[in-house]
Amino acid sequence: MLILHPLLGLRDAQEFTYLGDASIIDRPDGLTEPEAFHDYLYLRDNPAGVHKELWFHEQGDRSWLVVTRNTVTHEILGAELARDYARGRGRSR
């Protein structure tokens, strides 16, 4: 597979380490209830189809990317720096 890195162009998927569902960016910060963390940590979607997922360019520039991939066809519909995606989800400091 090839992943269109937003800074480096097409890169081979072998350079990346896969983590999974990008929803773990939405961490319930703070000293919150364990239930919120339970849901955050253990309840994930596993769709057959379009999925946003985290890939780490470990053998590359060490960027975490949010890759939009169709898990059925393996088509990659887009990739962005996870940093920017996280900011878009309201994460900051």
Partner: protein
């Protein structure tokens, strides 16, 4: 006719070779072989001659050798039926000794001088095979035979059935010696990958090459040109072979085109990635020294054109597996390309126009075409040749080779026709395999009665020529040019219009005929001995889906993957179910397209190249000291340093431990991960990734840190030093260095993207050495330039220093052993010199190098956790470090670490363990069981995590996780290991076996 039969009997190969007269009796023309040079080779020990350009199959046929193998199940005599990689029958063993290679298809073995080949699956000889008896018991060996016969008793499988089946079945034998050859792998990139160099592939490559695109053209054959080399067809007013040669020459002159003969594209993967195997040195006896025999290429292509051609299919009829029954196109290929007449009296059995070409070409070369049996009642007859319309072949005769056939004409009259070869053409199946590697199913094309690629094949892959169902030469050229042009326009190239050379565009005129009904066995899959009857049986027993049919009958398995049989088989099944072929569908094509050797998949990843080795900065020095090394991940670390006279590892390790506790020990600890954490928010960041607090750590101090996973379990531990207001250096365990860095980057980029913190690994930049023991300071004072007295450099201090007269270094006063200890780091290039300096300066202080074993003993004696305790399941509380988890701040894993089950009062706790009998031997992994209870899971109270011999105490000690352990000091238990059948009575003690008050490390 009797006369004719007698004459042909004289030709078959079951007569001694000497009787055949001069060699290469069947060579009737030059073809494309180089007759100016002769190559000698042997088959089953007998010597033959051939020419450059021959395959083993063409050379054997040229020499009148037809019998090439025995079939898989019934051990029927078999000969070659095809001229290319689809060959199911002619599987031979090549070479000998370590290079012996079974199951190579004689049709793709390029002849070399001295080639050595043997037939397989026969004993004692090919002509007389004892297991030929299987053929007579064939009624018992039908589809599903294994499943039905060897069902029970189950115990018989391992001892009886399997060994017997393994001996009887299977084809060649593997050499049991190590492969002496090198294999390589590589990576290629192109704009357009063209798979197949027949007319469509050459046209596609020319179109793209002329437009300036980067082109890779692969073909499995050693001679490019594909079917043009096997035909007498004209292209652009010249012989097709000449056109192909000119096209190849033009492409060879283009710097942007890479031509790869002997290269099979075996798999299509996601996003334009292909696997191809190049056989660099399979056509010579042995590769040159240091050069690879084969190369596995990973080709990344922006676009691709599949021009893999088509494969002719046989028609099933009674005893159609007799040596001499061949594919009509192969008969033609042997004649035109290799100048070999497969027989002297050839009959043909066809259901389409293409098969008639064989008759014409043979006739033109003066080979006797005794009859053309044409299943189609309509159409014109060939002039000057006996052309039976509406007729079929119903059987064959001959023992080890064909002597005649039985023909049933349109009126139903049967007749015997003497012949030594029967060329069969049941039509052509486009080679769609690669288009299905992404799970697209091919679609049925009524006009040619064959499957053609579906449109939802791999993205960016166009299909041209016969592979797309365009079976004429014109169709091949036109679609090749068109697919290339489309791909290039997609990529933004300007493509000038291509002049298509003129070529035939003859219609196919096929009348589907899959099998001739009648009694007896009609073979569908030659390689796996699957007959029409077997398919009927599968149908009868309700294995009707094509996937079930395949598994039940073994149809389409093994080296040929059903290239000549799949479509016929499912057509027969469709007939039986009455469902029609499109609804019946095909089985799935998966990589690899043709067999791939394990060697080339491994590439250079063997021996020294299997995986990288990481060496510490002191490796060279340690080797000089005679160190014994241990693999820790990819690292090689000194395990212990044997001294003369020491005969067991324990002697060395005990000495190293005692010397460290008495004087001073020196150990390379560079392998620990070092991560530089800088930025104005570095402290805040560390507070979130560690369970304890780092923002309050003063500059110049070190603190032990505990890192949790979000689920509350311990991920890693280590010390982190604050070197400046905004500068920390974190250490990780050796094993987790990579995972921790990845995790920190996740936290930094995904969770808190606006914190001002920068991370970079500095593991390899610094050589770090532990100096431990009561004399540690005295030794370091001789090396470090400044004041490191206890007042200036107290416990847990750190800072930048210089050593040996000005070299920048970092000093950390931290202890894993419980002794007065430091770690000192210098730029890695000076690591070797530093350790030598320490040893030289420390001679009178008892400086002793110690390895990882002594390191382990020292830390267990002190009760420090490491690998055995950090097992991925443990919590801070388990380790007795529960109070380190700050509940006042949000950190990774804090919330879930407080889950009810994880904070149980009676949960597992780290304890020390000593055997009641000091001579007893403990086993790591043993489980705690109360003295009066049975050793069963219900009574399991925890386990031993680390066991060492403590030379200090003179007996074994251990660490372990014990249920409610903190409250059980002094209690006696058993530690039981049911695997090793050991049981030892132990006493539970504090994990701090040495200096529980910590006076030594403050020393």
């Amino acid at each position: 006719m009797n006369q004719a039969l007698r004459q042909t009997e004289g030709f078959v190969a079951d007569l001694p070779q000497a009787a055949l007269g001069p060699s290469q009796v069947q060579r009737v023309g030059a073809g494309l072989v180089d007759r100016s040079r002769t190559l000698s080779f042997t088959f089953d020990g007998r010597a033959y001659a051939g020419h450059p350009g021959d395959t083993l199959a063409s050379a054997l046929l040229a020499n009148g050798v037809r019998l090439m193998g025995r079939s898989f199940k019934y051990h029927r005599p078999r000969s070659v039926i095809a001229s290319s990689s689809e060959e199911p029958n002619a599987l031979v063993e090549l070479r000998s000794g370590a290079r012996a290679e079974p199951n190579t298809r004689a049709t793709v073995v390029e002849l070399w001088d001295g080639l050595e080949a043997r037939s397989q699956n026969r004993w004692p000889s090919l002509a007389f095979d004892a297991l030929g008896v299987n053929d007579f018991v064939s009624p018992f060996l039908t589809a599903g035979f294994y499943y039905k016969t060897f069902m029970w008793p189950a115990a018989f499988w391992e001892k009886l059935y399997e060994p017997v089946i393994r001996r009887a079945a299977g084809l060649g034998r593997l050499s049991t010696e190590a492969d002496p050859d090198a294999y390589d792998k590589g990576f290629l990139h192109c704009d357009l990958l063209v798979i197949g160099a027949g007319p469509s592939g050459l046209m596609a490559a020319l179109t793209a090459g002329r437009a300036g695109a980067r082109v890779i053209l692969c073909d499995e054959d050693f001679l490019l040109g594909g079917r043009l080399n096997a035909e007498t067809l004209a292209v652009g007013g010249q012989a097709g072979t000449d056109w192909a040669r000119a096209a190849v020459a033009e492409l060879a002159a283009l710097p942007n085109v890479r031509m790869m003969p002997r290269t099979t594209v075996v798999g299509a993967f996601d996003h334009g990635v292909f696997a191809a195997v190049e056989r660099v040195a399979d056509h010579v006896a042995a590769p040159l020294a240091g050069k690879p025999r084969q190369i596995l290429w990973r080709i990344t292509a922006r676009r691709s054109v599949l021009a893999a051609g088509a494969i002719e299919r046989p028609i099933a009829f009674r005893d159609n597996d007799r040596p001499g029954v061949m594919l009509a196109g192969a008969v033609r290929a042997y004649l035109n390309r290799w100048g070999v007449a497969a027989g002297r009296r050839v009959a043909l059995f066809v259901n389409n126009e293409d098969g008639l070409r064989t008759a014409r070409d043979l006739d033109a070369r003066g080979v006797d075409v005794v009859a053309v049996i044409d299943a189609r009642p309509e159409g014109e007859r060939l002039p000057g040749i006996r052309h039976l319309k509406g007729a079929v072949v119903t059987g064959t005769a001959g023992r080890l080779g064909l002597t005649g056939i039985t023909v049933r004409d349109a009126q139903g009259r049967e007749e015997r026709v003497a012949c030594d070869v029967l060329g069969v053409s049941g039509g052509w199946n486009p080679t769609v395999a690669l288009t299905s590697h992404h799970s697209a199913r091919p679609v049925w094309e009524e006009g040619i009665a064959a499957f053609v690629p579906s449109l939802d094949g791999p993205k960016g892959l166009g299909v041209a020529g016969a592979a797309a169902g365009a079976l004429s030469t014109h169709g091949a050229l036109a679609t090749g040019a068109a697919r290339a042009a489309e791909a290039l326009e997609d990529l933004g190239f300007r493509v000038s219009s291509v002049d298509l050379p003129e070529a035939e565009d003859a219609p196919v005129r096929l009348r589907p005929l899959w099998h001739v009904s009648g009694t007896g066995r009609a073979w569908v899959d030659f390689q796996n001995d699957v007959t029409v009857k077997d398919i009927k049986l599968a149908h009868q027993e309700n294995f009707r889906s094509v996937e079930h049919l395949k598994r039940y009958t073994t149809l389409g398995m093994a080296t040929d993957q059903g290239k000549t049989s799949n479509v016929t088989a499912l057509a027969v099944m469709a007939e039986l179910t009455g469902k029609g072929i499109p609804e019946t569908g095909t089985t799935m094509f998966r990589p690899p397209y043709t067999p791939v050797s394990m060697g080339v998949l491994a590439g250079r990843s063997r021996d020294e190249g299997f995986k990288p080795t990481r060496l510490t900065p002191s490796h060279k020095w340690a080797r000089e000291q005679g160190a014994v090394f241990v693999e820790v991940g990819m690292w090689l670390r000194a395990q212990w340093f044997p001294r003369p006279g020491e005969t067991t590892w324990r002697e060395s390790v005990d000495r190293e431990v005692l010397a460290t506790r008495k004087g001073v020990g020196v150990c390379d600890v560079t392998t620990l991960g070092k991560i530089d954490v800088q930025g104005t928010d570095a402290g805040a960041f560390l507070d979130r990734v560690y369970a304890n607090t780092f923002s309050t750590l003063p500059v110049g101090k070190v603190r032990y840190g505990l890192m949790l996973r979000e689920d509350g379990h311990v991920m890693d531990d280590g010390t982190t030093a604050r070197l400046g207001e905004h500068e920390y250096v974190m250490t990780t365990t050796t094993a987790n260095a990579v995972a921790v860095f990845r995790h920190l980057e996740f936290c930094r980029q995904c969770l808190w993207p606006d914190l001002d913190v920068q991370l970079v690994s500095t593991t390899e930049a610094w050589a770090q050495v532990s100096v431990a023991g009561p004399n540690a300071r005295r030794l370091l004072e001789r090396v470090v330039d400044g004041d490191i007295s206890d007042a200036a450099f107290p416990t847990m201090a750190c800072g930048n220093v210089t050593v040996c007269g000005g070299l920048r270094a970092r000093l950390f006063r931290i202890s894993f052993s419980g002794e007065l200890a430091y770690e000192i780091a210098v730029p890695a290039r000076y690591g070797d010199a530093l350790i030598r300096e320490l040893m030289a300066q420390g001679k009178d202080l008892g400086a002793t190098p110690y390895g990882t074993e002594a390191l382990g003993v020292l830390r267990v004696e002190k009760g420090h956790v490491a690998g055995g305790e950090l097992n991925g399941q443990s919590t801070a509380l388990n380790m007795g470090l529960g109070r380190m988890v700050s509940r006042k701040k949000d950190s990774i894993g804090m919330v879930l670490s407080q889950r009810e089950e994880l904070v149980r009062e009676d949960g597992l706790r780290l304890v020390g363990v000593r055997p009641v009998d000091p001579t007893a031997v403990l086993k790591g992994g043993s489980h705690f069981v109360a003295l009066d209870k049975e050793a069963v899971a219900a009574n399991d109270d925890g386990w031993l995590t680390s066991v060492v011999h403590s030379p200090h105490l003179g007996h074994q000690i251990a660490l372990g996780y014990l249920r409610n352990g903190a409250a059980r000091m002094g209690e006696r238990l058993r530690v039981v290991n049911l695997l090793a059948k050991t049981e030892v009575e132990v006493e539970i003690v504090s994990p701090h076996f040495i200096d529980p008050e910590g006076e030594r490390l403050r020393g």
